[in-house]
Amino acid sequence: MDAKKAEEARPIEPAAPQAPAEGVELDDLTPEELAAQWEAEAPEPAGPIANLVSSLVVLALSIAGLALSIGLELGTPAAPAAGMWPFIVTLIAGVMAIAQIIVGRSGGKDGEKFSGMSWYAAIGFGTLILMVVLMPLIGFEVPALLLCFVWMRWLGGERWRSATIYSILIVAAFYAIFIAALGTTIPRLF
């Protein structure tokens, strides 16, 4: 049914901004050129600071884990107690974090730098958390509507009108499926 909606909407509204630039010349690329282009289009690696920060976070967590594991008592190899296995695991994580600090000090090729677009993910996360907080209080309809609208209007660049219409349609569809048809006990307002 969503497919139909979009189908109807197409002639009225122009395609999202990504449409024009790509296209014709892509046809003639060989696999090697295509792979090279993907490489060039790929986001920049996270870099040395990200490597240091993430490794330090792992290291800090593993130290905390080690302390907690010792608190649970380690026992002996012949009679391991509750803390032995978590101790081994967090020790591995800690040692690997130190190794990564050294090996990855010049950055490496993995990860991705945060960009201006990363705020979109942060805002998306915020709306998800908001939904989790609000759902038990006022049911899922209003938070879901809010989430759809924010994601479409601001994170997706839809127009006010289409964002409003689609949000309402989507929430109505979810209500019909999850509440009316499947009879789940999702907290709801109506």
Binding site: K5, Q18, N51, A78, G108, M117, A121, I129, V132
Partner: protein, 509 residues
């Protein structure tokens, strides 16, 4: 008949109309979600896990098989139509598949991919039918030390074979193992890392982790990356491949299926490696290799057969040893555990009906995929034309509301969102979520077997080396762990100059 009796009984289970209906539902929904850009098979299966709740175990497993194949094929559709591979194993499909689509042969590409996938998977299931009982009977004598060694080897292999930094993959695996320890300790009854939170006393459930890391993590990541989305596809016609196309592709399908079956048994990136290997093989054996990359049908048929064959044969280590070979299998493993099925050597002898039900459901899932995919291609094209801005909140809501319905628990939903943030951050910082999920799934098995072995061996770790199988597995483990270091040392000696060594180090980092 002794061997085929249970196999045939499995078929009668699968052919029950209810089961067929659920399988059909699984295939269609799996394709619908799998076709959404950015969601690969692992994410698709994770998002759809709640659907399998509240259904009979056998039915649920059959539905899972449907979802699995549907999700796999969904990735192929986006490769061909959008130049957007759903996962690493369908990257090579893009090379010729997208060109074919540009030439107006998208239907042929998708049709031949469906046929190739069907053929590849069928070859693999037949192989599995004969090989699985052998492997399982071999593994029946495994005791705790063997299981410890096997689980360790499995985690290490997935961590080292997955793309990206190996050290980071091992860190991710260690985090997964740690998360598995949260909750009540099975041996001493001590509460571990629950911080007095009652919701954590029974441990963290597998589903929120999988749904969060793979589902919400990908959804958040796509919010950021959407500006790079591809253009909407053109109209797709001529879905049924012509006799000439099938004739051209048949060799590639056959070679790809066999290749995929064998490579898929290996842990790690079986499906990815086999699709790459198949593409290379087709290019090498072709009379005119220059056609490749310009819309050669073998370039779609071979890799697609190979990756589906590999995806299917990676069920062998899962069902016979209880060791998932990759992230997708880890999710299937978790889903089976939820249904009260513990994959492992005992499964085939203790519960043959269930085991063969699982295996035979793959045939059905596959046949239904073939039947459904071709007529439904038009629907998928329409879905792909919907703007990502509208699809994103739909997938987010499916995930959140689905997570709630599992246990009617808001805490689960919160966990899904939090693990989603973790999954996003891991991606940004270069940590693979696959090893984490895999290690989490194997965590309690590994810990309990390690502790049991230590009790048996009276705390002497060298005891692991006195048993031939565990000794072999551990020797392999050590080899896999140390090999990258030896290799880089050799390379460094070869290269000699300091500059080369630095460059190499950078490459490895």
């Amino acid at each position: 008949m002794e061997f085929f009796g249970p196999v045939m009984d499995g078929f009668t289970v699968v052919l029950d109309p209810t089961n067929l209906l659920y399988c059909l539902l699984g295939v269609v929904v799996g394709m619908l979600i799998g076709v959404l850009p950015g969601l690969g098979p692992a994410a698709t299966i994770a998002i759809l896990l709640p659907m399998t709740y509240g259904v009979e175990p056998v039915t649920a497993i059959i539905m899972l098989a449907g979802i699995f194949y549907g999700a796999q094929y969904g990735g192929t559709i986006t490769s061909v139509l959008l130049r957007l591979p759903g996962e690493a194993s369908s990257v090579v499909t893009v090379f010729d598949g997208y060109v074919m689509a540009k030439q107006g042969r998208a239907g042929t590409a998708l049709g031949i991919a469906a046929i190739g996938s069907f053929f590849g998977a069928t070859v693999s299931i037949i192989g599995l039918t004969f090989l699985a009982p052998l492997v399982a009977s071999f593994a029946l004598d495994f005791g705790p030390p063997e299981y410890t060694a096997l689980a360790m080897l499995g985690i290490l292999l997935v961590a080292t074979i997955s793309g990206g930094t190996k050290i980071k993959a091992i860190i991710a695996a260690a985090v997964g193992l740690f998360l598995a320890t949260v909750g009540r300790d099975g041996f001493t009854g001590a509460e571990r890392f629950t911080f007095g939170n009652l919701s954590l006393a029974d441990g963290i459930d597998f589903v929120p982790i999988a749904m969060g890391l793979f589902g919400v993590g990908e959804i958040l990541y796509n919010l950021e990356e959407r500006h790079r989305a591809a253009t909407a596809p053109m109209k797709v016609s001529n879905v049924w491949p012509k006799a000439k196309d099938i004739k051209e592709a048949s060799g590639a399908i056959g070679r790809g299926s066999v290749l995929g079956f064998f490579l898929g048994i290996l842990p790690g990136g079986g499906a990815t490696i086999s699709s790459l290997a198949s593409y290379a093989m087709e290019k090498k054996t072709a009379k005119d290799p220059s056609r490749f990359g310009k819309g050669a049908i073998e370039g779609v048929a071979g890799p697609e057969s190979a990756n589906n064959a590999a995806a299917t044969s990676s069920f062998i280590p899962l069902l016979t040893l209880g060791i998932p070979a990759n992230a997708t299998m880890a999710i299937i493993f978790g889903a089976l555990l939820i249904q009260g099925v513990t994959p492992g050597p005992q499964l085939i002898s203790n519960d043959p009906e269930l085991f063969w039900g699982v295996v035979n459901s793959m045939y059905i899932g596959n046949i239904l995929l073939l039947i459904m995919s071709i007529p439904l291609i038009g629907v998928f094209v329409r879905i792909l034309r919907i703007r990502a801005a509208i699809l994103a909140p739909i997938t987010a809501l499916i995930t959140l509301l689905g997570a709630y319905t599992i246990r009617n628990s808001m805490f689960d939903v919160l966990l899904v969102v939090l693990f989603g943030a973790l999954g996003y951050l891991m991606k940004k910082f270069g940590f693979e979520p696959g090893p984490l999920v895999l290690a989490f799934v194997l965590g309690s098995l590994l810990e309990s077997n390690l502790r049991r072995s230590l009790l048996v061996l009276e705390g002497d770790p060298t005891g692991f080396f006195t048993r031939p199988i565990s000794a072999t597995l551990l020797a392999l483990f050590i080899f896999v762990a140390v090999w990258p270091m030896i290799k880089s040392a050799i390379d460094r000696r070869k290269n000699g100059s300091i500059a080369a060594a630095v460059a190499k180090e950078k490459e490895n980092a």
